[in-house]
């Protein structure tokens, strides 16, 4: 695992053919902070997260994890990253325990089942551990998927629309979990549309539109009105 306390994007762009999905985005965030990527559909939030997750290479610019780039650090860097995507990255045919044990083992856990049982207890799903994930509601799958992303205690946590499908209690539990991660010194990057749930949670908000960073605000308050004001100006 590579330990780092800063995540830096320097003039990052990503093209898909002639389409420019991300255009010269730069930011820096630190351990113990939550960065929100906010913007309408197609703004480039998921593409940015995919590049931070090393799943896509930037067409231009660099992403630095401390002093390393993904090319330099490779597999060791991926051990420090946890990703919860818009899709849940779970095998529906496997049980919740099998899914978590599989991913724990992939990340080098010596006892995958023990790690899976602890994660299921955190998700409040111990009684459904032996049920296939295909029988779960969207909210329950989302909770299992979050535990999958965090099972190896990553330094950098990347979350794409993590509140999707969660009821009020589960969403509040997720907000508390994210605050806990921040308290433990993780770097959290969160892409969301749910401004109400993100209210008061973000240390830094970056507003994206058409692949460009429109504005970046530190410790934003009244997120919804800030969002409307910034996006109104950007139109």
């Amino acid at each position: 695992m590579i330990d780092f306390t800063e995540l830096t994007a320097e003039g990052v762009s990503r093209h898909f053919g002639r389409r420019r999905a991300i255009s010269r985005i730069s930011f820096q965030t630190h351990s113990g902070s939550i960065l929100g990527l906010l913007g309408p559909n197609g703004a480039g939030k998921s593409t940015m997260l995919a590049m931070l997750a090393t799943l896509l290479r930037p067409s231009e610019g660099h992403i630095r994890y401390g002093t390393s780039t993904s090319k330099q650090a490779g597999a060791a860097l991926r051990r420090s990253i946890g990703v919860l995507g818009h899709d849940l990255f779970l095998y529906p045919e496997l049980t919740a325990r099998e899914n978590l044990a599989f991913f724990a083992a992939l990340y080098g856990a010596s006892d995958g089942n023990a790690a899976a049982n602890s994660a299921l207890a955190r998700a409040g799903l111990s009684d459904r551990a032996s049920d296939p994930v295909s029988s779960f509601s969207r909210g329950m799958r989302q909770r299992v998927a979050l535990e999958r992303a965090l099972i190896h205690m990553p330094r950098l946590v990347l979350l794409d629309e993590p509140f999707t499908g969660l009821d009020d209690a589960s969403a509040a539990a997720l907000v508390a979990r994210l605050r806990g991660l921040r308290g433990d010194g993780a770097i959290v990057v969160l892409a969301t549309h749910d401004l109400d749930l993100a209210e008061g949670l973000l240390d830094q908000a970056m507003f994206l539109r058409d692949g460009r960073a429109v504005e970046s605000v530190t410790r934003p308050d009244s997120l919804r009105s800030t969002y409307r004001s910034i996006m109104g100006r950007a139109t």
């Binding site: 490779g74 991926r78 095998y91």
Partner: protein
């Protein structure tokens, strides 16, 4: 790398044992293929010379294409391929794990196909079990090594079901030809083992070339 490949192989086999989806579709397709050819070609109990070798490899190639498509379709449905790519091991380990799963499935299908072809075409396929195993193993590995790479590469392509055979068959023609010729050599009344050995060595050489290229290109193809 070995541990990651083993974990992926074990996971794939667990999913398959639970659903039996690929096993059923692959076997149904392969057995149907063999039966249709048997009805068409075997007349008055006589099969065309070397027909069994060709039919066996056609069934393996068609069934293999079906299995390759479905294996990666599973990884696409919940984008689990992305989660595998995030694992902290060399990314070619994912390729190796998926390849071993497909080879295991195809070898399982061949265990049923070989006696069926031998029976329907009255071919002495089982008279040299060692050489037949060597031919099937090396041929299946060569076919699956290219197929696994292409299936992974096409996983997000919209017309992947059409593109897979279009890309796969021209590249794997040498493997199929060598497999057919080696199997046909085994079916002769006087088996020339030197000839069989030549074809098996050619299959192994093709395996080495295809595997090397696939391991080399897997990561760039999956991240760009």
């Amino acid at each position: 790398m070995i541990r990651t490949a083993w974990l992926i192989l074990r996971k794939d086999l667990t999913v398959e044992v639970r659903s039996l989806e690929i096993a059923y579709t692959t076997l149904f397709f392969a057995i149907s293929c063999v039966l249709f050819f048997a009805f068409a070609l075997v007349k008055e109990g006589k099969a065309p010379e070397d027909g069994a070798a060709g039919i066996l490899w056609i069934a393996i190639a068609f069934a293999g294409t079906l299995a390759l498509g479905r294996t990666f379709e599973r990884e696409r449905q919940a984008e689990t391929l992305r989660a595998l790519l995030m694992a902290p091991s060399d990314r070619p380990a994912i390729y190796v794990g998926k390849l071993l799963g497909i080879v295991a499935l195809l070898l399982g299908a061949e265990v049923i196909l070989v006696p069926l072809v031998a029976f329907l075409f009255q071919a002495p396929l089982l008279s040299h079990p060692f050489w037949l195993s060597a031919i099937l193993l090396s041929g299946t590995l060569g076919f699956a090594s290219v197929g696994t790479l292409f299936s992974a590469m096409l996983v997000r392509a919209r017309s992947r079901d059409v593109l897979l055979p279009v890309l796969l068959y021209p590249i794997t023609v040498p493997v199929i030809i060598a497999g057919v010729r080696a199997t046909a050599a085994l079916l002769q009344p006087d088996v020339e083992l030197a000839l069989v050995r030549f074809w098996v060595m050619l299959l192994l050489a093709l395996d080495v070339v295809f595997l090397t290229l696939a391991l080399w290109t897997f990561e760039p193809l999956m991240t760009d």
